[in-house]
Symmetry: C2
Subunit: 302 residues, 2 copies
């Protein structure tokens, strides 16, 4: 196999057809080019160029080598350049996980602005269940997660609130509370709340499945559900209620589940999280793009 300097000397000479200019382009002496080409010709067993002191032109063999070698060598160079760009963070792919169809639509716009901010970079998205989002972040399978707050974890960095939506209560359609137009937080004591698996951070569980009403009345715990569909199935079966963002009403309509505003409860908030140890210019740029596009506290009603 040829050495890099041999390949380059040959290809440049085949291009320039002039030892002096070739040497100049390669920043070496003409003597070096001459010796390198001579060595190649010994290797190949035949002349690659016919040269007088007045003219240099490729032989049939030299022309063949140039024609076959150039595209292959340029492909090598292109591959190296791409990977060097990726390695130095000048290009790459940011992997983002999110939950819920509404979030996916919002992020499509953010991705566009992200690409403008960071040319050479792409963003890929995947939907992930509640319990998986943080695991994906910790395992390094994704770089960012767009998730419902609060998620206070020592190893995770949460960005500012990007989306805020009214909090509603998903409750069995046949339950007497469903007959009301809205529900107050105090009425949560009237039926169990579906619980979340222990894999979900405590801060999030405390927010969604409190054990007491604002007045201090105990809220009975219901069965545990892992995915939103599982939870809503439990709700529909009359096993309890669960607080959700308003968008759930649109994306998860079910005849056995009623959605009612939780009038005096704080909104459901969303934001972007990344792992403390994996903050990069790319994650930062995505944070910025999201903030520019979604703004702080921009309320969306589902």
């Amino acid at each position: 196999m040829l050495e890099r300097h041999e390949i380059e000397a040959f290809l440049v000479l085949a291009d320039e057809l002039h030892f002096g200019r070739t040497a100049e382009r390669l920043h070496v002496s003409t003597a070096r080019v001459s010796q390198t080409v001579r060595k190649l010709e010994r290797r190949f067993g035949a002349p690659l160029f016919v040269r007088t002191s007045r003219r240099v032109e490729p032989t049939a063999l030299g022309a063949q080598l140039a024609a076959e070698l150039r595209p292959a060598w340029e492909a090598v160079g292109a591959a190296v350049r791409r990977v060097a760009d990726a390695g130095h963070g000048r290009s790459g792919t940011l992997r983002v996980a999110f939950g819920g169809p509404a979030a996916g639509q919002l992020l499509a716009g953010v991705a566009e602005r992200f690409r403008e901010r960071l040319p050479g970079w792409e963003a890929t998205f995947r939907e992930a269940e509640l319990v998986d989002r943080i695991a994906l972040l910790r395992s390094g399978e994704v770089d960012l997660v767009f998730a419902e707050y609060p998620l206070r974890e020592p190893d995770l960095m949460a960005g500012p609130v990007l989306v805020s939506e009214p909090r509603m209560l998903a409750l069995p359609a046949g339950h007497r509370l469903a007959r009301l137009g809205a529900v107050t937080a105090e009425r949560l004591a009237d039926l169990p709340l579906v619980q979340l698996p222990s894999a979900v951070p405590q801060s999030f569980r405390a927010d969604r499945t409190p054990t007491r009403t604002p007045a201090g009345r105990p809220i009975p715990p219901g069965p545990a559900g892992t995915t939103l569909n599982e939870i809503l199935t439990l709700v529909g079966a009359g096993r309890g209620a669960f607080p959700v963002g308003a968008q759930a009403r649109r994306y998860h309509p079910r005849p056995d589940v009623a959605y009612r505003p939780l009038t005096d409860a704080p909104p459901v908030q969303w934001g972007l999280l990344h792992h403390r140890d994996h903050a990069t210019p790319a994650t930062e740029a995505f944070h910025q793009a999201a903030q520019e596009l979604l703004g702080v506290g921009a309320a969306t009603d589902g």
Copy 2:
């Protein structure tokens, strides 16, 4: 750009995922592989492999580099190998010129045998006019010519006679000689002979356009024609006659030209010629293949 040893160390390690085996395959020390990979990682700005003393596995970046680099590098190797084969005469293309459609058909069979004799080699053919054949050989545009004899030139080497066909006389259809079933050489004095251009070797001109009959009677010179078609047109126009091989009757039938056996003339013979300075194993192999297939003195009647 990467050096050859860097590319190879990386690709083999990406394949083996083991520094020891990689070093073995490359015939270097493991220390060298380690240092080379480390250097690459500094170049690319990020690790290419995550390694403990127990496990080596590519990072996403390393996997990308391997995936993009391997095909390009293999293409470089393939190009170099092909050209090295060609340069050392282990493969290549033999360019053969010939005259006349019948010759083309014969040579197709010879080419097949030639490829069997010399694996890696191909033969390409081109038809060439009488006057061009020797010029192509001298300029190096072709390696062999299948041509009508005699062509005695100091710089050309003529192989044995491969094809022999009866000599016929092309003469104007309305000429009184055309009324005979055959013509004797002595009757050539009865009409002019179309002449050949001076670019055609003297030996050939002396054979085809003699100035005297066997008995010594002068043969009048006719006008000169360069190509066979030109010559036959002159013949058809009644300007003279011309001796041809029997195959011409089949491949150049014309209403204004009659073909009659030249009963007491030597046959028209064909053979392969190459330039004295360009005898190669390939030309030799083609000569051999032609002799095997066509044999000495195998007479074909057109």
